[in-house]
């Protein structure tokens, strides 16, 4: 039934490989359209900020497409945003990956390297332990693929923690903004439920998200 599915918007960056994100939302009965420019970011009911690649490349793409202020306004207003992996990292002020490059700076703090001696990239499944007040992030195993991470939850955000050479921020949320260092779209049934929870919080429920949320699975 084309046209009858709710539509959310994804920020396209040249470095992002988003087939898995699109497939995950498709399974949840949601149409994902590209967010073409700041007006659409402004108007959209729910925006996904994915991204793989470097902090510098991600921010350059944000600037070149004129999206920096629009994303900042959404996040500052607590309006529905799901930031994944690099998408979460660029919410911060800066990253050791790209010294001197300014992030979106809607979350105070910096992104750094994992401590020496641990496997890098962190590639695989790790336990996520959220603050009990989190509305979308829940305990469970998430799939990660990252070489950098935030070591501290920014003031004003609720955090979820994982361990890889010490604790790091696996996810965080504020209002309807949810940021995941892990890949919910690759985190099996647990990840699908997380996406459903964010859609629900964003006012974009579908029959599939209701089924998932009501079944009590995961």
């Amino acid at each position: 039934m084309p046209g009858s599915r709710p539509v959310i918007h994804v920020v396209r960056t040249p470095t992002a490989n988003i087939a898995s994100v699109l497939a995950a939302f498709d399974r949840l009965g949601v149409e994902v359209a590209p967010a073409e420019g700041p007006d659409m970011i402004e108007r959209s009911g729910a925006v996904v900020l994915p991204g793989v690649g470097s902090f510098d490349a991600g921010m350059r793409s944000m600037r070149e497409n004129g999206l920096v202020e629009a994303i900042r306004r959404r996040v500052d207003g607590g309006r529905p945003v799901l930031a994944i992996c690099l998408g979460m990292q660029i919410l911060f002020e800066s990253s050791e990956e790209s010294p001197g490059v300014e992030g979106l700076a809607v979350a105070a703090g910096t992104v750094g390297r994992f401590p020496a001696g641990v496997r890098v990239p962190q590639m695989g499944w790790n336990l996520v332990k959220p603050d009990p007040s989190c509305r979308v992030l829940r305990p469970g195993h998430a799939y990660y693929a990252n070489s950098f991470r935030a070591a501290a939850t920014p003031p004003g955000w609720l955090g979820a923690w994982s361990e890889h050479g010490g604790p790091f921020v696996g996810g965080m949320e504020r209002g309807s903004v949810v940021a995941c260092q892990f890949h919910p779209e690759l985190s099996g049934a647990w990840g699908a439920r997380l996406l459903a929870g964010w859609l629900d919080l964003s006012g974009v429920p579908t029959p599939a998200t209701r089924d998932l949320l009501e079944s009590g699975a995961c």
Partner: protein, 283 residues
């Protein structure tokens, strides 16, 4: 703390699973997407699909297969077999692979690894290394004892497995898929000396491959330093599911991921089991 990954491997030719599969609840056991979905349901942590097609038509079919898998599964998918260029990688990633594995093409042109890592990120780039024992393997200089071979083990390269894996890490590879050609299909377990020799030289993750016939082999691979263990025979030819194997590993003290979340984890609470496993903090 990272949980060891159990990775079933699907060999696909012309869009169909090559090896025999005996899951009774699959209507069409030769359909890669149906098999992939079944593996995810059983608790597979990731899937590797190797395209073994010999023709251009077969390789085009592989792209369709990747799309079909992506529509069905919500766990990571690595695709290898026919990836020889940046364009091939872009095609597979666009179709829904999360990582691409390069083998022969990387040996012939190592700059491919750097270009793929630069364009797609290291986390997308797996280098598959096929290694064969040389006569001095296991002797005083074990690090000098495994030769890298290509084209299904038929051609020598002059490279040593440990040196080549270090070079791949330097070039930006995010992971090594390390296959023992001697053990592949033999069922006597992974080549643990090979695993240890490569493990000493790299800090990127290693997927052990070639030779696993039952869960104890997976346990040995993890203890020898693998971050993930790949198997085809166990899950294809025997009546053992991924869930069965994870239950066995959990009972031996390894941390495993429950398929559907925290409830019903074979190892009980995920906090309780990792300390006994090989991934403890001492490494």
């Amino acid at each position: 703390m990272l949980i060891p990954r159990i990775i079933p491997c699907l060999d696909v030719r012309d869009g169909r699973v090559v090896k025999g599969v005996r899951f009774q609840n699959l209507r069409d056991a030769g359909d890669p997407a149906a098999l992939a979905a079944e593996y995810e349901r059983q608790g597979a942590d990731e899937l590797v699909m190797l395209d073994v097609s010999a023709t251009a038509d077969g390789r085009r079919a592989a792209v369709e297969t990747v799309s079909a898998l992506r529509r069905r599964i919500s766990i990571p998918l690595t695709v290898g077999g026919g990836v020889r260029s940046e364009a091939d990688a872009a095609c597979m990633l666009g179709a829904g692979a999360d990582k691409v594995a390069v083998n022969t093409a990387a040996v012939e042109d190592p700059s491919l690894v750097a270009r793929l890592a630069g364009r797609f990120g290291s986390q997308c780039v797996v280098v598959a290394i096929d290694a064969a024992r040389t006569p001095d393997a296991g002797e005083a200089e074990p690090s000098m004892s495994w030769a890298v071979v290509v084209r299904a083990g038929t051609r020598a390269t002059g490279l040593r497995a440990d040196a080549w894996s270090r070079e791949c890490q330097r070039l930006g590879a995010g992971e090594i898929l390390l296959t023992s050609i001697d053990r592949d299909g033999v069922g006597s377990g992974y080549d643990l000396d090979l695993l240890r020799a490569v493990r000493r030289g790299v800090r990127i993750p290693i997927i052990a491959s070639g030779g696993a016939a039952h869960w104890e082999h997976l346990a040995e691979g993890l203890t020898a330093g693998a971050d993930a263990v790949l198997a085809a025979t166990i899950f294809h030819d025997r009546i053992r599911t991924v869930a069965d194997v994870k239950r066995d590993l959990a009972s031996a003290g390894f941390a495993v991921r429950a398929a559907g979340g925290l409830e019903g984890s074979p190892g009980g609470s995920p906090d309780a089991s990792p300390a006994a496993g090989p991934r403890g903090g001492a490494r």
